[in-house]
C-alpha cells in the first residue's frame, strides 16, 4: 500500500520541552497543503518532565478517526523510547536524533537518523534556543522526508512571528539545517509522503472548545461563570478571548460581557443560574467532577424552571480519574442529574462546527424550554484541532428568548401565573425582574409550588406540576436536533447508533465492515430526549449496535429506558481506555458480536496494540 496522504505520524516528546508549537506547525502545514489532518495531543496530568505525545492522522480520504499503528514515529523522548519503537508498524519509519547512538532492536522498520542536537547546537548558543529549535528542526527534516512544500512552512513561520524578523530568521534556519541534512542523506521524499491536494476544501482547523466558546459569543451569552478544570478550561478562556476581540464597547472600551472565575463549581453554576433568571444569557463549563458538584443546582434549575447552559467536556472517570484522557461516561449522570425525579436535555456535538452550532442551539433551547441544557463534548473534541466545515450563522434567525412577558403583555393579561401551562406544551411564561411595577413578580423556589409559584404541600398540586414538567420534556423531543442517518438508512436489518466523537471513525468502520460483507444502517444521535426518529430507527432494526466510550453502556441504557426497546436488541460496542475509539475496534467488536470468530483474534490484537500506547 502506498502512503501518499494516508498515514499516521506520532511525535514522542517530553512535557514542557516546547514541542507542542513545533508539532502544531507540522500539522497545520499539512493542512495548508490541502490534506485533512486529525492531530491528537496525548498529554500527562503534569506540567513538566513526563512523556507526552502528538499523533497526527493524515488522510486525504477524510478518515480522521484515530487509527492503530504508527507509520512514522518521531522519537524525541528517551523515557518512552522502547514503547515508541514498539508502536511502529512493520515497514514504518523511525525518525530520531542520531546525535546520540541508540540501540534499535527492530529490523522490520526504516530508521532515519538526523543529528538534530548537533545541527542545532552548531548554530545556537542559548540553552533555551537549543532546546526549542531542536523541535523546529525535526519539522524541517520532515518537510524533506515527506516532500512537503517548504514555502508553505516558511510562510507560516513568517505569519506567526510577523514583525519579529530575528525570530523568523532563526526559525527558518533551524528548519533549513535539518531539511538540508535530510535531503542530503536520504532519498526524499519517502514512499510515505504528502502531496498538495484540495481534499480539505474550505474546511478549517479548530478545537471544539474554541468553537464552542465562539458559539457562545454568537449566541449572545454575556455571563460566563466557571471554575478551572481540564479539559473544559479552554472553553471559558476562548469565550473570554473572543469577547475581548468582539465585545468591547468602541466608545468606552468597556466590556459587554462578564467572565467570573468562581470559587468552585457550585458557585459557577449558581452564578449562571442567577444571571439567566435575571434575563441574561449565561453559561458555565466543566468536566465530570464539576457535574457531580453541580447536581444540586441542576435539580433546582429543573424544578424552578430557570434556563441555563452547561458544557460538560467529558474526561476519564470515575472520580478524578484520568484527567487528560477522553471518555463519554457522564451520560447517565447528566441525563438524570440531581435527586428526585429529574430529566435534562443533552446535546451531543460531533465536531467543532457542531460545537459552535450547538452552543447557539443550546441557548435558544434553554430559553425556549426554561431548563438546563447540557452540551456533552469531551476532551478529544474539546482540546484537539479538528478538520471541520467552516463556521456559519443564519443571520436571518434571531435569538429565541422563549416565552417572556414584557410590561405591555402583562398589562393585557388578567392574572399572571408563572407556572400555568397556557399553551398546552408544558412550557409556562416567565417575566424578568423589574419588568412591571405591579404585575408579574413571582418567587422562584426549589420547594413544591403551585401554578402561581406559591409554596404548597398539597401533593395533588405538586403531582400536577411534575406531570407538566414531563409534558414539557415531550415538547423538547420535537425541538432538539434530530438524528442523522448514514448510508441513506437503506433498510438494512441491522443498525449502528453512535454520538459525539464516536462519529469520527464510523465511516471508516463501515468500510471495514463492508469489506467483511456487513452492511449496517447508521444513526448519529444528536440529542436527549430522543426524538421520534430515534425510536423509529430502533424499532426498524432487529439489532442495533450502540457505540460509546464508557464501561457501562450508558447511552444504551438511556435508549432502553426512554424508548422502551428490548435490551436484547441493543448491542453495546464499548471503548473506555481513554483514547478515542478506532474504526478497527468498532468493526472488530461488531464482528465479534456477530460471532465472526475469525475477527475475534484481530479484535484482541487491536485491543492489545491499542493498550500498548
Amino acid at each position: 500500500m502506498t502512503r501518499v496522504n494516508e498515514f499516521v505520524i506520532k511525535f514522542a516528546n517530553v512535557n514542557g520541552s516546547g514541542s507542542a508549537s513545533a508539532n502544531a506547525l507540522f500539522a497545520r502545514a499539512v493542512f495548508r497543503m490541502g490534506v485533512p489532518v486529525a492531530p491528537k495531543n496525548i498529554f500527562p496530568s503534569n506540567i513538566q518532565g513526563l512523556p507526552t505525545w502528538f499523533e497526527v492522522r493524515v488522510s486525504a480520504k477524510g478518515h480522521l478517526g484515530r487509527r492503530e499503528g504508527i507509520d512514522m514515529m518521531v522519537a524525541m523522548n528517551p523515557q518512552s523510547w522502547d514503547e515508541d519503537l514498539a508502536a511502529i508498524v512493520p515497514g514504518g519509519y523511525l525518525l530520531y536524533d542520531s546525535t546520540f547512538i541508540r540501540e534499535i532492536e527492530r529490523d522490520d522498520i526504516h530508521t532515519v537518523g538526523v543529528p538534530l542536537t548537533k545541527l542545532v547546537n552548531r548554530r545556537f548558543e542559548i540553552p533555551r534556543e537549543r532546546q526549542l529549535f531542536k523541535n523546529v528542526a525535526y519539522v524541517g527534516a520532515l518537510t524533506a522526508l515527506l516532500g512537503m512544500d517548504f514555502e508553505v512552512v516558511k510562510e507560516m513561520i513568517a505569519a506567526q512571528f510577523r514583525g519579529k524578523d530575528k525570530a523568523i530568521q532563526s526559525n527558518i534556519e533551524a528548519l533549513a539545517v535539518a531539511r538540508d541534512y535530510a535531503l542530503e542523506h536520504f532519498d526524499c521524499p519517502l514512499d510515505m509522503r504528502i502531496e498538495a491536494s484540495d481534499a480539505a476544501g474550505d474546511s478549517i482547523l479548530i478545537e471544539g472548545n474554541a468553537a464552542a466558546g465562539l458559539g457562545c459569543v454568537f449566541a449572545g451569552a454575556t455571563v460566563a461563570a466557571w471554575y478551572p478544570i481540564t479539559p473544559s478550561t479552554s472553553l471559558a478562556e476562548a469565550f473570554e478571548r473572543y469577547c475581548n476581540r468582539l465585545r468591547i464597547d468602541g466608545a468606552t472600551g468597556r466590556k459587554k460581557f462578564a467572565v467570573v472565575q468562581a470559587e468552585d463549581e457550585l458557585a459557577a453554576i449558581g452564578m449562571a443560574i442567577g444571571a439567566n433568571w435575571n434575563g441574561a444569557r449565561a453559561f458555565t463549563a466543566t468536566s465530570g467532577p464539576g457535574i457531580s458538584l453541580m447536581s444540586e443546582f441542576l435539580g433546582l434549575a429543573y424544578f424552578a424552571e430557570v434556563p441555563v447552559v452547561l458544557f460538560d467536556i467529558q474526561r476519564g472517570g470515575p472520580s478524578t480519574g484520568m484527567p487528560t484522557r477522553t471518555q463519554q461516561s457522564d451520560i447517565v449522570s447528566c441525563a438524570y442529574a440531581s435527586h428526585g425525579d429529574t430529566r435534562h436535555v443533552l446535546l451531543f456535538p460531533s465536531d467543532p462546527t457542531e460545537c459552535f452550532d450547538f452552543a447557539i442551539e443550546a441557548f435558544d433551547l434553554a430559553d425556549r424550554l426554561q431548563t438546563p441544557i447540557i452540551v456533552m463534548s469531551d476532551l478529544d473534541l474539546g482540546m484537539n484541532d479538528w478538520t471541520s466545515r467552516p463556521l456559519a450563522i443564519d443571520e436571518s434567525r434571531g435569538f429565541d428568548r422563549g416565552k417572556v412577558l414584557d410590561a405591555a403583555q402583562l398589562d393585557e393579561i388578567e392574572r399572571f401565573g408563572r407556572y400555568l401551562d397556557v399553551d398546552g406544551d408544558g412550557i409556562p411564561y416567565r417575566t424578568y425582574p423589574g419588568a412591571h411595577p405591579e404585575k408579574g413578580a413571582f418567587f422562584s423556589r426549589g420547594t413544591s409550588h403551585n401554578e402561581y409559584a406559591r409554596y404548597t404541600e398539597d401533593g395533588a398540586i405538586n403531582e400536577r406540576v411534575m406531570h407538566r414538567l414531563n409534558r414539557k420534556f415531550d415538547t423538547a423531543k420535537t425541538l432538539v436536533p434530530a438524528p442523522e442517518f448514514g448510508q441513506e438508512n437503506r433498510g438494512a436489518t441491522m443498525g449502528l447508533a453512535y454520538f459525539g466523537t464516536t462519529a469520527a471513525p464510523v465511516p471508516e468502520a463501515m468500510e471495514l465492515l463492508a469489506e467483511r460483507k456487513i452492511h449496517l444502517d447508521t444513526m448519529r444521535i444528536r440529542a436527549f430526549p430522543f426524538s421520534r426518529e430515534v425510536e423509529e430507527f430502533l424499532r426498524g432494526h432487529e439489532k442495533v449496535f450502540v457505540v460509546e466510550q464508557n464501561r457501562d453502556a450508558q447511552m444504551r441504557g438511556l435508549l432502553v429506558n426512554e424508548c422502551g426497546v428490548d435490551p436484547a436488541r441493543l448491542v453495546p460496542i464499548l471503548n473506555f481506555d481513554g483514547f478515542p475509539v478506532t474504526a478497527r475496534r468498532i468493526a472488530d467488536l461488531v464482528c465479534a458480536a456477530l460471532g465472526r470468530g475469525g475477527e475475534d483474534a484481530e479484535d484482541e490484537a487491536a485491543a492489545a496494540g491499542h493498550a500498548a500506547e
Binding site: 455571563v223 461563570a225 466590556k255 443560574i273 433568571w277 435575571n278 443546582f297 418567587f443 420547594t447
Partner: protein
C-alpha cells in the same frame, strides 16, 4: 457615620412616600414564622427602610437560601421578584443576578446556618468580589427550620452562663467580612428598629457589598444555652407536660438604647445578650481597629452593634470587571452578535 441618618418622624396622617406608595405596598404575604420570631421584626425593618427610601419595589430583587430566615423574602416586598435558591448558595445566585442587571437593588436574606456553615465559602467570596448588594444575616445561633441544632455563629446568648460554653469557637461573620474586604459591615438587633431601619437604609444606599449581621432570636429553640441536650434541661424546669412540639406564643423582644451605652436584653428562655451600641467617637474606617475593638468587647461578653466598618473607596464587582454601564440583560442582538462577516474572518484565520 454620615450614612446613619436618624429615622424620619412619621406623621400618622401622611402614610405615603415620594412614590405615593404606602407601607402596605412594600409588605409581603402573611408570615408563617413562629409568633415573636426575630426574623419577622427584620422583615418589618426592611419594609420600613424601602418605604422611607422611596424604592420602587419592582426594582428590587430578593434572594435567599434555605431556612426560616430564608423564607422571609415572601413576607416583604410582594411586588419584587424573589429567588429562594438552595441551602447556603444564595451568594452565587445573587452574584449572577447582579452581573445580569446592575440596575436592580439586591437584598439577600440568609441565616447563620445558611451563611456560616454550608454557605461560608460562597459568603466569603461574594464579600471578596464586592457584589453590590445588601446581605442580611438573620443570626439566631441556631438552625431554626431543622429544629434547633447548634449553629457555627457566636452563641451570644450563652455568654456569661456557667458551664455552658460552646466547645467550638464561634464564627463572627462581621469580623470575617471586614477581613475579606467588605465595604460596609454593620451589626444590629432585630428588636431595635431605631438602629436597624437607618442601618438598612444606609446599606441599601451603599455601593458594594454591605453586610448586616442582625441578632435575631429564635423564640422556639433556645439552643444557645448549649447543644440540643440543654433543650431537655430547659424543658424539665418547665411544667412537665411541655412537649418538644409545643411552641408557646411569644411576644417580640424589643430593645431601645442610646449610642455608646450597653443594654442587657432578656430573651424568652431567660438567656441574656449584652449589646453595646457604638458611639460617635468610633472610627469605622480602620479595619484592623474595628476587628480589634469587636474582639476585645467580645472578651468582655459584649456584642458590639452599629456600623462597624465602612470603606467608600473600593469599587464594586461591575467596576472591577470593567463592564459597560448598560445592564447586560438589556443588550440586544445587534450589540451582542458579531455578523457573518466577522465569522468569515475568523474562518479565514483558521485555514
Amino acid at each position: 457615620m454620615t450614612y446613619l441618618a436618624k429615622p424620619k418622624f412619621h406623621h400618622p396622617r401622611l402614610p405615603r412616600n415620594a412614590l405615593g406608595l404606602t407601607r402596605r405596598d412594600y409588605e409581603g404575604t402573611m408570615s408563617t414564622l413562629c409568633a415573636g420570631c426575630g426574623h419577622d421584626s427584620v422583615s418589618a425593618a426592611i419594609v420600613e427602610a424601602c418605604f422611607e427610601l422611596d424604592l420602587p419595589a419592582h426594582k428590587v430583587a430578593k434572594m435567599s437560601g434555605i431556612g426560616c430566615s430564608s423564607k422571609t423574602p415572601t413576607y416583604f416586598l410582594s411586588r419584587s421578584h424573589g429567588f429562594n435558591s438552595v441551602h447556603g448558595r444564595m451568594p452565587s445566585v445573587a452574584t449572577g443576578a447582579n452581573l445580569a442587571n446592575s440596575e436592580l437593588k439586591y437584598i439577600g436574606v440568609s441565616g447563620d446556618g445558611d451563611s456560616a456553615s454550608i454557605g461560608l465559602g460562597q459568603f466569603a467570596h461574594a464579600v471578596r468580589r464586592q457584589v453590590d448588594m445588601l446581605y442580611v444575616v438573620e443570626n439566631n445561633g441556631t438552625y431554626g427550620l431543622t429544629k434547633g441544632q447548634f449553629s457555627a455563629t457566636n452563641d451570644r446568648v450563652s455568654v456569661g452562663r456557667k458551664g455552658q460554653r460552646n466547645a467550638f469557637d464561634a464564627i463572627d461573620l462581621a469580623v470575617l467580612a471586614i477581613q475579606l474586604g467588605a465595604s460596609f459591615v454593620a451589626r444590629g438587633f432585630s428588636g431595635d428598629k431605631e438602629q436597624l431601619v437607618p442601618m438598612m437604609k444606609a446599606a441599601l444606599s451603599h455601593k458594594g457589598f454591605a453586610l448586616i449581621d442582625v441578632i435575631s432570636p429564635c423564640v422556639t429553640f433556645n439552643n444557645h444555652t448549649g447543644s440540643t441536650k440543654s433543650f431537655e434541661f430547659v424543658r424539665d424546669r418547665e411544667h412537665s407536660v411541655v412537649e418538644t412540639d409545643y411552641v408557646p406564643l411569644r411576644e417580640e423582644i424589643v430593645a431601645s438604647y442610646a449610642e455608646g451605652t450597653v443594654i442587657e436584653v432578656e430573651l424568652h428562655d431567660r438567656g441574656r445578650v449584652r449589646l453595646r451600641k457604638l458611639d460617635a467617637a468610633y472610627d469605622p474606617t480602620d479595619a484592623a481597629g474595628a476587628v480589634r475593638h469587636i474582639m476585645e468587647r467580645q472578651e468582655e461578653g459584649e456584642v458590639v452593634t452599629g456600623l462597624l466598618y465602612l470603606d467608600t473607596g473600593d469599587s464594586e464587582l461591575k467596576e472591577k470587571l470593567e463592564m459597560v454601564e448598560t445592564p447586560l440583560n438589556a443588550l440586544g442582538e445587534a450589540e451582542l452578535r458579531p455578523g457573518a462577516a466577522a465569522l468569515e474572518r475568523i474562518n479565514a484565520s483558521l485555514r
